[in-house]
Amino acid sequence: MTETPFHDKPRTSCALGGALAAISALPDVVPIIHAATGCGGNLMNSVAFGAGYLGSSYCSGASAPTSAVTETEIVFGGAERLREQIASTLKLIEGKLYLVATGCMTEMIGDDAGGAASEFAEAGEPVLAISTPSFKGDCYTGYEILLDGIFNRWLRKAGAADPRLINVFGVVPGYDPFFRGDLEEIERIGARLGLKVNTFFSPTQTFENITAAPEAALNVILSRTRCRGFAERFEEKHGVPWWATDLPVGPEATDAFIRELAAKLGIDGAERVVAAENEWYYRYFERTADSYADGELRFYSVTVTNSNYALPLNKYLYRELGWTPAEIFVTDRLEEARREDLLAGFAELPVKPRFVSGSQEIARSIDQGRPVYRGQRYFDALTPLYIVGSTLEKQMALRRGAKYLAVSFPAYDRAIVAGGYAGYRGGLRLYEDLIGSFMSAKG
């Protein structure tokens, strides 16, 4: 049998890539890339196409200012070129915060981007430098470096705290392709509890959400694996406590999220919101029961996602839809301690995640340890199978005759705009997408 080889495309990009994707979602924040020619453009393509055609925004992507250093700057130092670039960007581009983000080359030669940025900052310009070479980590690390820069270095301490204000972090723009829809659902749920919610990266947000962040009563980290250090430093500087949980997907997880959040903040109203949201959710969901039961829409599931989405997604498939998890692949690089944190969340699921990112290896390991058909009467053939992963899993799914939906990066066989899977609304949308993706073959 000849195997069609997979093209192993990456499921991540570098620290600079993560930072740039996040900056592109921040209103009035302008990136200034201090890197070699090519970095900015290539990294823009990563999310502009790979995150459900996220595209670019004001002064992001292909129009991001860059120092575009070449050999002369590498040999003689690029700080002068950077100063020039900062000055011209300040002159030409309107913004409320200018973020110098460095690439590998300029870090390797030891350019003092921080020094250049502070010269402007001392002159009263809102300029800040963050150090994001790829050798510091992947896009997820880059997102955290960015947060650290803005919230823990640039923002000043707040005066009074607002007991009804919360900040949400942990959802990574672009590399969590549904970040906007997911964050907006969290905002909506928070509002129902009478909260103001800073999510920073959704289109409802303005620059004032950033500057108000130190006044929050709680930082909600929607990730078991990201932003720990960031949250700790935030607490140290601004005195805001933090709570790490998962992105809630579907009613059960969201009920628990609402109750716990209300308890953390010491506010009432959780039960009222939970009751009303469930009423709404199930008036939709009950009507899917006919097709769901009669159509036998239950599957074995294989998921391929980053560590942020693995647990929320699998909980939903297992507990809301009653599917049978067969394999859970977590594709982002994690330190041992963070893996442990993640594994702890899987206690109530029948399958533990495996930490693999290569497409070939994922395809191979789905069958590993499973009985192979040798004429037995009863044989667990892993069908019907549903693969919920990235577009990189599509060919594997087609070969196996499995149902398939892209929900993780890179997702370039679908468009993602305002959609998201968080909360009650997201739960229904996930159902629509999962079932709709193969129903579309009918007719």
């Binding site: 050999e71 002369t72 700057e73 590498i74 040999v75 003689f76 130092g77 690029g78 700080a79 390797m108 030669i109 030891g110 350019d111």
Partner: protein, 292 residues
């Protein structure tokens, strides 16, 4: 030397006498009739000063920075007896990447095939101190220098730098890089200093190509902006450098050195320390004769 271009790289700890030795070697080779280029690979760009009356020349990288492109011919300056003088130059201290600068400058010359055009017999690269990064190892990579000589005194730090260099040479030796020709023992005055460098050479499986004494003649000539060969051709010191030149001209076969591990090097140094102490305190006779 025939018509085959011989490319040599000189390494050693900073301030040990690389440029002094290199310039005198270039001058002596040229007075023996060879067509020589001296290529300074130190961002300080002072390698060829004594070949040009003590003056600095515009560097490859400065020219590149100003003009955007460099014709090799434009950055070659004529020195004593027709020696071609080149300085790679580099960034200001503390910024940029001097290592990359060396690579850029050396590559630029290689691409333009200028050595062939000038019909050179010998190119000598005078490279900054330790092999601190890939850039300073450039001259010993495949296709550049064939032979490396290290300038070393009997001081431990100098020996340490040479040993590091040997590590670099060994690393590149499997991929066609330059091999070690030997050690130029510089500032060889005290009697025991010869014994130390001799012992180090033996331990690392290499040889001493010349013992160069520390001499006031060098200082006097340097103050006039000249090499000993040019300013004091009849001096004893000039004879020493000429002998070195003959040795280098005749040198064909370089070898992979056997650098010492750090612990071995420390033990080696400790052994010498004990020995010198014994000589000094007179436990062992011969201290006077050994220059202590």
């Amino acid at each position: 030397m025939g018509k085959k271009l011989k490319q040599i790289a000189i390494y050693g700890k900073g301030g040990i006498g690389k440029s002094t030795t290199t310039s005198n070697l270039s001058a002596a080779l040229s007075s023996l009739g060879y067509k020589v280029m001296q290529f300074g690979c130190d961002p300080k760009a002072d390698s060829t000063n004594t070949l040009r009356g003590g003056s600095y020349i515009p560097t490859v990288l400065d020219t590149l920075r100003e003009k955007g492109a460099v014709k090799a011919r434009d950055v070659i300056y004529e020195g004593f007896n027709g020696i071609c003088c080149v300085e790679s130059g580099g960034p200001a201290p503390g910024v940029g990447c001097a290592g990359r600068g060396i690579i850029t400058a050396v590559e630029l010359f290689k691409q333009q095939k200028i050595f062939e055009e000038l019909d050179l017999d010998c190119v000598i690269y005078d490279v900054l101190g330790d092999v601190v990064c890939g850039g300073f190892a450039m001259p010993i990579r495949e296709g550049i220098a064939q032979h490396v000589f290290t300038v070393s005194s009997a001081d431990f730090m100098s020996v340490y730098a040479s040993n590091n260099l040997f590590k670099g040479i060994k690393k590149y030796s499997n991929s066609g890089g330059a091999l070690l020709g030997g050690i130029v023992a510089n500032s060889m005055n005290a009697g025991y200093s010869r014994d130390i460098v001799d012992d180090f050479a033996a331990r690392t499986k290499t040889q001493i190509v010349q013992y160069v004494p520390r001499s006031i003649t060098v200082t006097q000539c340097e103050l006039k902006g000249k090499t000993v060969i040019e300013a004091a051709p009849d001096s004893e010191q000039a004879r020493v450098y000429r002998e070195l030149a003959e040795c280098v001209a005749a040198h064909e076969e370089s070898r992979t050195p056997a650098p010492l591990e750090l612990r071995e090097l420390q033990e080696w140094a400790a052994k010498w320390s004990d020995k010198l102490l014994e000589l000094e305190t007179g436990t062992v006779p011969g201290g006077q004769a050994a220059g202590i």
